[in-house]
Symmetry: C2
Subunit: 208 residues, 2 copies
DNA sequence: GTCTATAACCTGATAGAC
DNA sequence: GTCTATCAGGTTATAGAC
């Protein structure tokens, strides 16, 4: 029988310690700039163990990257394909959900964007992404745009929503510098965004 | 006396050919992943020449990076600090100016964002960025927010504007894939954005 | 499973001929 | 200025002892 203590021990097993260190270093420095030695050191282990568990730097990276994307995607899929919420309810759910998540993982957006842009074809194949014919959220958006006789391309709305959520985490250094704000103040700015993004999306649609 | 032909020859001198190749490769793969050999090959030259002209990989990178940022910044500074245009005129000028520029240089945003996030302190010191006490555009924005009694932080407006302009170029692969659009169609989507971003910014301010 | 030592390879930079 | 050849150092991955 497994006790709770066993589970905790298991969850910080050597394998998991390596993955955790890899997540940290890869996210911070990107694939090319991280050395396997950095990861081993960060995990408090020896370099050879890394290859014992994961065979190669690339395989370890792939695993980290795929899990990062799936952690991201799993959140969105449930919200996006729910038939019982409206489009605007979905913007609220996505904003709330992602902003919370990203405040805890501020390096993830750039990590994923780099992985994606580095080699889009490989990226989408690795994460097993299949273009959906359509999803509920986009169908609802198209419906709204049609009813309100807006000619704007739905992509432009979706890009705005994702950008509003994600872009602050990409531009934080310059925003902090230009706005002359502290990190604590920046968190408050983000909290303000969380409430406003759904309002903004609606205003954008109405004004288009 | 220098003829026009001389100038053209001069502008594709060995030094300039190396820089052009470096721009292309660094922008595409980032600092760590590019090998000096890649740049030499791209320039149709051999590796030793690269060190003859630029002494090291890092010095070459710094030069490319600084010029990229300055090409970006020089455009904005003139617009942002003009006392004779309104805030909303500035949003139009910036959108128009940047979108055109980025359609021709779609890889630049990610290149600069990576350089900045990699080591913000070093980045700002290299490009010689000094925090301005304030700039005309932000002063005008603060004025508008005050008059309309909006409590929103001006950074959130500025981040939205920059994000609306830049984010499509970071998320192009996923936008193309999810929206099931071709590259030509995506250009049209961007053209549509160009007209709408200033309208959206105004709508965002009014709704905040 | 974990370690040390080392193999095999790659990369930035330079020496030296032309 | 431009090239080929090469060095010196670093990196991934593995062999082999424990």
């Amino acid at each position: 029988m497994k006790t709770k203590a066993d589970v905790i021990v298991k969850s910080s097993s050597t394998e998991e310690r390596i993955k955790e260190a890899a997540r940290k270093v890869f996210t911070q420095k990107g694939y090319a700039a991280t050395r396997t030695r950095d990861i081993a050191e960060e995990a408090g282990l020896n370099l050879a163990l890394l290859n014992y568990y994961f065979r190669s730097k690339e395989k370890l990276y792939d695993m980290i990257m795929i899990e990062a994307v799936q952690g991201f995607a799993s959140r969105v899929i449930k919200i996006v394909n729910n038939e019982y919420t409206t489009f605007y309810e979905k913007t609220e759910l996505m904003t709330e959900n992602y902003m919370e998540f990203l405040i805890d993982h501020p390096g993830l957006p750039l990590f994923i964007i780099n992985a994606m842009n580095d080699d889009p074809k490989k990226f989408f194949s690795k994460i097993g992404f299949k273009r959906p014919d359509s999803n509920v959220m986009i169908r609802q958006l198209v419906q709204i745009l049609m009813e309100e006789e807006k000619k704007i391309h739905p992509i432009n709305i979706m890009v705005n929503m994702m950008g509003m959520i994600v872009f602050p985490f990409l531009s934080a250094p310059i925003a902090l510098k230009m706005g002359n704000v502290s990190k604590d103040e920046f968190i408050m700015v983000l909290e303000q965004r969380k409430k406003l993004i759904p309002v903004w999306i609606e205003a954008i649609i109405k004004s288009s």
